[in-house]
Every structure is written in structure tokens, then in C-alpha cells.
């Protein structure tokens, strides 16, 4: 048979014995491509969280390698102490306040940036810079302008509006620390929402608006019927992300107030950090970290079931 002669002349260069492997070549190469990501995840997520859980079952002094098994005692203690619930509450206030302001400002900036004609590139660059600037620099500028000694906002607030005393540091006041933290963070992080919504706005074809104009739609109707539906998916996603990020936020709070005054701005991440380094209770801090992670996981799953943002994103393409 002709097929047999063909068989014998088949020349194949094989360096890897693909044929004798238990899976197809494509499967092996495919898994190979994601292995680095898996490795990073295992190293940075699976191992630490497993480690944190294991450590949370022990009483550990931060600087002392002695581990003493205490079972779930750390957890029952976490649930009992007032600072935990207080920090959780402050964290939720910080998260909700920040996310709402950022959503409103971010959306507004995206819409304006999408519509202006002159200086669009420069202004977009300046706005984007706010997101790219290191948090520490935002904090340094904020510390400077709210400093009672020569800080321009401190002076304005004291002299023009009488919000605080002439020598009072607003970031050190129980009344003003939290609102100022929310506002300062929003200056930087609103841009996150702007970037994503602006990218979506740019992707809406003009012909939709032209068709709406032909139908006699006004600007508000065009926004409501064309722009907003196209943005819903991405808004649901960025709101979720911003909420998670703000709930996890540690850097800007630590830099500006270190959780103070007292514990007026101590959220859960700050509490966990202070527990490690101030209270030297490493096991207990890990229990807080595990609780935080579980809390976020439950909240995120609930959010996904309620809104299913990924589906929105898929279908609005």
C-alpha cells in the first residue's frame, strides 16, 4: 500500500520524546507557560497565607523564635478585643468614604478629559501623574501643607475658615485626621478610576453618538443611554478593586498619622502592623491578617454574586 511507503520515509526531527509523554505536547507547553505565574503565586500567596494561618495558632513574640501552640486562642482574642472591632469599623468608614469620593471624582475627570479638545494630552498626563507619584511624596506634601509651622492649608483652615486652632495640627486632631486621610488619598487614587473609564470612553465608537443625534437625543440622554451602559461593567470592577485596595491601605495612613491620634485612624492593616512591631505579638498579628483575608474573600465573593462584574465586562465589549 502506498501509505506504508509514505510511513517509512517520514522524517521527523524530535529532540523531546513528546510521543512517549502522558499528555499532549500542547498541554505540556501550555501548562509550562503559566508555571512561572503559579510559582510566584505559591511563593507570595499560598505559602504566606498557609504560614500565617499556622503562625496564628501559636503565641509568638516577634523577636523571639519560640513558638508556643495556643490553638484558636488568638482568634477568640481577636474577636473579643475592642480595638479589632473599632479598627474594622474605621476601616469600613475609610473604605466606603474613599471609594465613593474616588468614584465620583474619577468618573467626572474621565468624562471631562474625554471631551476637552485643547491641551488634552498635557492635562491627561498631569492627572495620570497623580496616580504614578509615590505615595510617600503625596504624604510628604500633605504633611508639609498641614504643618502648623508654615503649612499653607493649616494656615488657611485656621485663619480663613476657623476649622482648627492656629497652632493645631489637623492631621493630629481626632476630628480632622480621618476626613483628611480620605481626601488626601482621593487626590491620588481617583485617577485609578479615571484611567479605566477614560480607556472605555475612548473605545465607544462615534457612530453611536451620531445615531443618537439623528434620533434627536440631547446630551443627558446620550450620556444615560449610550455612555453609561458602556461604562457599567468597568465601574463595577473598579469599585470592587478600589474598595479592596482602600480596605487594605496601609502606606498612606502610616505615613500621615501612624494610626493616630490615639487610634483615630487605626484601620485593620495598621492594627496588624502595630501588633507585630509595637506589641511584638507576631502570632496574634497573623490571626488578624487571616481574619482580614477571609473578610475580604467573603465580601468579594458576595460582590461577584450580586453584580457579576466579569460577566458585564465580557458582554459589553
Amino acid at each position: 500500500m502506498a501509505g506504508k511507503t509514505g510511513e517509512s520515509t517520514r522524517a521527523r526531527k524530535t529532540y523531546v520524546p513528546w510521543e512517549s509523554l502522558p499528555a499532549s505536547r500542547e498541554t505540556i507547553v501550555g501548562i509550562g507557560t503559566v508555571l512561572p505565574v503559579v510559582a510566584l503565586y505559591v511563593l507570595i500567596a499560598v505559602v504566606p497565607i498557609a504560614f500565617a494561618f499556622w503562625a496564628s495558632l501559636h503565641d509568638i513574640h516577634t523577636l523571639n523564635p519560640e513558638w508556643e501552640w495556643v490553638g484558636l486562642e488568638n482568634y477568640s482574642e481577636v474577636m473579643e478585643i475592642a480595638t479589632f472591632w473599632g479598627s474594622l469599623w474605621r476601616g469600613v468608614v475609610y473604605m466606603v468614604g474613599s471609594t465613593l469620593i474616588q468614584l465620583a471624582v474619577g468618573l467626572w475627570m474621565a468624562i471631562v478629559l474625554n471631551r476637552i479638545t485643547r491641551g488634552q494630552k498635557l492635562l491627561t498626563a498631569v492627572v495620570f501623574t497623580a496616580y504614578l507619584i509615590p505615595t510617600i511624596i503625596v504624604s510628604l506634601v500633605a504633611l508639609r501643607v498641614f504643618d502648623p509651622a508654615g503649612g499653607v492649608f493649616q494656615a488657611l483652615g485656621a485663619e480663613q475658615f476657623g476649622l482648627w486652632g492656629a497652632t493645631e495640627a489637623p492631621l493630629g486632631s481626632r476630628e480632622w485626621a480621618m476626613p483628611l486621610l480620605i481626601l488626601i488619598g482621593s487626590w491620588k487614587f481617583s485617577v485609578f478610576i479615571t484611567i479605566f473609564t477614560l480607556a472605555q470612553l475612548r473605545a465607544i465608537p462615534d457612530r453611536f453618538y451620531e445615531a443618537a443625534k439623528v434620533c434627536g437625543a440631547n446630551r443627558w440622554q446620550m450620556f444615560r443611554d449610550i455612555t453609561l451602559p458602556r461604562l457599567t461593567g468597568i465601574i463595577l470592577v473598579v469599585v470592587l478593586l478600589r474598595s479592596i485596595f482602600m480596605f487594605n491601605k496601609f502606606d498612606i495612613i502610616w505615613q500621615l498619622t501612624q494610626g493616630g491620634p490615639g487610634d483615630a485612624t487605626t484601620t485593620l492593616p495598621v492594627l496588624a502592623y502595630k501588633t507585630v512591631y509595637t506589641d511584638q505579638a507576631y502570632g496574634f498579628a497573623n490571626a488578624i491578617a487571616v481574619v482580614m483575608f477571609l473578610f475580604l474573600l467573603v465580601a468579594a465573593i458576595a460582590y461577584f454574586t450580586l453584580f457579576n462584574p466579569s460577566e458585564e465586562v465580557e458582554t459589553t465589549t
Binding site: G6, T9, R10
Partner: protein, 359 residues
């Protein structure tokens, strides 16, 4: 250069648990230097067949040989083929020059050799002045010429086309067809050309292979496919406007058969031994004539004319439904009554169930 042999090629896809037979037991040989067109409606398995020959898909069963070499399992890189894609697929980040030379670069040709070969191909394709441009700056026709150049310089063993002109307008198609023929002649290897456009199939091919639902219906030279279709499907698919079909019956008369369509009788050769059988009657619109006398043929009411300049397509309403007739360039029906006369020697008869040609 070798010929292509496709033997009992079958490709089955699995989609969410269901098995879909895309290509079913196709056997086809393309001789060296021959231009064979695989034509059929969309989703008929023609592209799958071509991708199996190219090595982009692996057949479920069957063999593909280039000459004596069994390439069924050979990766596409080692088949030494050229392939023109439906969406042209020029590398958008490379200039025309780099696009054409990429295969040579992979094969390890020197820079000078590459430039020389690109120049030569560009000359043949009349794109010498486009070499420095990026693909996005070219028109659709020019892009297709570049894609041809990419194939030309590599001197392939097998030339494959996957509906390369489906996105071009009619005028450009007509312009490119001779270019494609020139290039395939130049290379002189077996060519498999896939298209859904029967006009392309008819104009360029040495042989046309009509495929439907994953199965080959007929493989024959264009003229034969047109005049002597093997099946109702081939007859309907090839030719413009499409073959007109009627329901008929065969009556035995004096040892031979007579075709009866409604109240009308036609003498058709080769109907001996048939009697009382229902048949499908196929007749090309070119083989129907229009008589001013309604009694001369099937009475028909004129509906509308589509003048094309060299001929007119006229639509009539008859007792058998709407019938299209190719009439002379000056014909104007004006909605009047006519009689349609069938040229009985051009009638084809098909089995009502299988669609296979009877006579």
C-alpha cells in the same frame, strides 16, 4: 515537485460534547503544476480540508502525502508550503520588504540573497515601489500582491489559497486573478485554492472540486462541471444565475422514457427502463427561451428585468413558481404574458432523494 494526495481525509471536531464531522472521507489528488479549486458554501469543510493539507489542523483519520512523503503528522513548518490567508495576514509591524523576506530569513538566507529575491518577486508582482511601505499603507489588492510575493520567494512545494480574495471588490478580484495564475505558473507546483465564489473557481482552475457538507460532490474540469453536473447540488451551486429546478415524472413510451413536467412533455435521452419515477428536473436559465406566444411553451407572466448590458436576467411567474431566464440584452418584458420553451437536450435529471444525476 511532487503532487498532493489526499486519501480518505476525515476531520471530526468535538464541541461541547457533540461531534461535528467537518470533512468526511475526502479523496483528491492534485498533480504537479495543477490548479485545483475546492469550492462550496460556507461551513462545508473546504477550509478545514485545506488546513489539514497545510498542517494547521490534524486530520482525525486519512493520509495526506506530498509525492511519496507522508506529511499527515508533519508540522506545518516542515511542509514547505505557501498559504494565502483569507485576512491576508501580513505582519503589520514589518515593512513590505521584511514581510516578503521573512520566510527567507527563517531559512537562513543571507541579506543580499534576500534582497535579490524580494526584488525579483516584487518586479513580477509590480510592487517594486511599495517595498518600503508598511502593510497598513497599502490597498487590499496591493496587500494581496505582497502576500503572493511572500509565497513566491520561498519556492514552495505546495501552494494553498484560503479564500484570499473574499474581502476584495469584484473589479480587484478580476485584476488579481491573472496575477495569481501567473505566480502559480511561475512556481509550477500543485495548487489548492479554496473559495466560495464559483466564478473564481470556474475562471482559474484546471479542475474544480465541489464540496458540500464535508463530502466531495464532483471533481472535474470547469466546463464539465458546468455542463455535466453529477448532482443537483453541483448544478445549483455552479453557474450564474442558478439552475432552475422543477418536479417531473418519467413515463415509459415505446421502450424509451419521456419526461413529463406538469402538462408538458419533453424528450430526453437515456431514460430507458424508467417508468413512473419522480425526478428533479434541472435546466440552466441560459437554456430557456422566451416566446411571445403563450401557447408555444409554459405560460408565464413577466415580473421584472435585470439588464446587465451583455444580457438580461428576466424573472417570470409560472405555474411552477418563479423562473429566471437569461434573455438578450435588449429584452424588455413589460409585465406581459409569454411562453417559456425548454431546450430539451440541455435538461439534467436528478434523483429526488439523493440528488444524484440520472440523465
Amino acid at each position: 515537485m511532487p503532487d498532493i494526495t489526499i486519501e480518505n481525509l476525515t476531520k471530526v471536531y468535538e464541541e461541547s460534547g457533540d461531534e461535528i464531522v467537518a470533512v468526511n472521507d475526502v479523496t483528491l489528488t492534485i498533480a504537479n503544476g495543477e490548479f485545483v479549486t475546492l469550492v462550496g458554501p460556507s461551513g462545508c469543510g473546504k477550509t478545514t480540508t485545506l488546513r489539514c493539507v497545510a498542517g494547521l489542523n490534524t486530520p482525525t483519520s486519512g493520509t495526506i502525502r506530498f509525492g511519496d512523503r507522508d506529511v499527515t503528522e508533519t508540522p506545518v513548518q516542515e511542509r514547505n508550503i505557501a498559504l494565502l490567508f483569507q485576512d491576508i495576514a501580513l505582519y503589520p509591524h514589518m515593512s513590505v520588504q521584511e514581510n516578503i523576506a521573512y520566510g527567507l530569513k527563517i531559512a537562513g538566507f543571507s541579506r543580499q540573497e534576500r534582497i535579490a529575491r524580494v526584488e525579483e518577486a516584487a518586479g513580477l508582482l509590480q510592487i517594486t515601489d511599495q517595498l518600503e511601505k508598511m502593510p497598513s499603507e497599502l490597498s487590499g489588492g496591493q496587500q494581496q500582491r505582497v502576500a503572493l510575493g511572500r509565497s513566491l520567494v520561498r519556492d514552495p512545494e505546495v501552494f494553498l489559497f484560503d479564500e484570499p480574495m473574499s474581502d476584495l471588490d469584484a473589479k480587484l478580484k478580476a485584476e488579481l486573478r491573472p496575477v495569481i495564475e501567473k505566480v502559480t505558473d511561475e512556481i509550477g507546483c500543485p495548487t489548492l485554492y479554496v473559495t466560495h465564489d464559483q466564478e473564481e473557481a470556474m475562471t482559474m482552475s484546471d479542475r474544480v472540486a465541489v464540496i458540500n457538507d464535508g463530502e466531495l460532490e464532483q471533481v472535474a474540469p470547469p466546463k464539465e462541471i458546468y455542463d455535466e453536473p453529477d448532482s443537483e447540488f453541483v448544478s445549483r451551486f455552479i453557474g450564474q444565475p442558478s439552475t432552475q429546478f422543477f418536479d417531473g415524472r418519467i413515463r415509459a413510451v415505446n421502450g424509451t422514457g419521456e419526461l413529463v413536467v406538469g402538462d408538458y412533455e419533453y424528450e430526453v435521452d437515456g431514460l430507458g427502463g424508467w417508468n413512473g419515477d419522480e425526478v428533479r428536473v434541472g435546466l440552466r436559465p441560459q437554456h430557456i427561451t422566451v416566446n411571445n406566444d403563450t401557447d408555444a411553451g409554459i405560460p408565464a407572466t413577466h415580473l421584472l428585468d435585470e439588464p446587465l448590458g451583455d444580457a438580461t436576467h428576466s424573472f417570470f411567474e409560472t405555474e411552477f413558481g418563479e423562473v429566471i431566464v437569461v434573455t438578450g440584452p435588449d429584452f424588455e418584458g413589460d409585465g406581459k404574458e409569454y411562453g417559456l420553451v425548454f431546450q430539451s437536450d440541455s435538461i439534467c435529471l436528478f434523483d429526488t432523494d439523493s440528488g444524484v444525476r440520472i440523465a
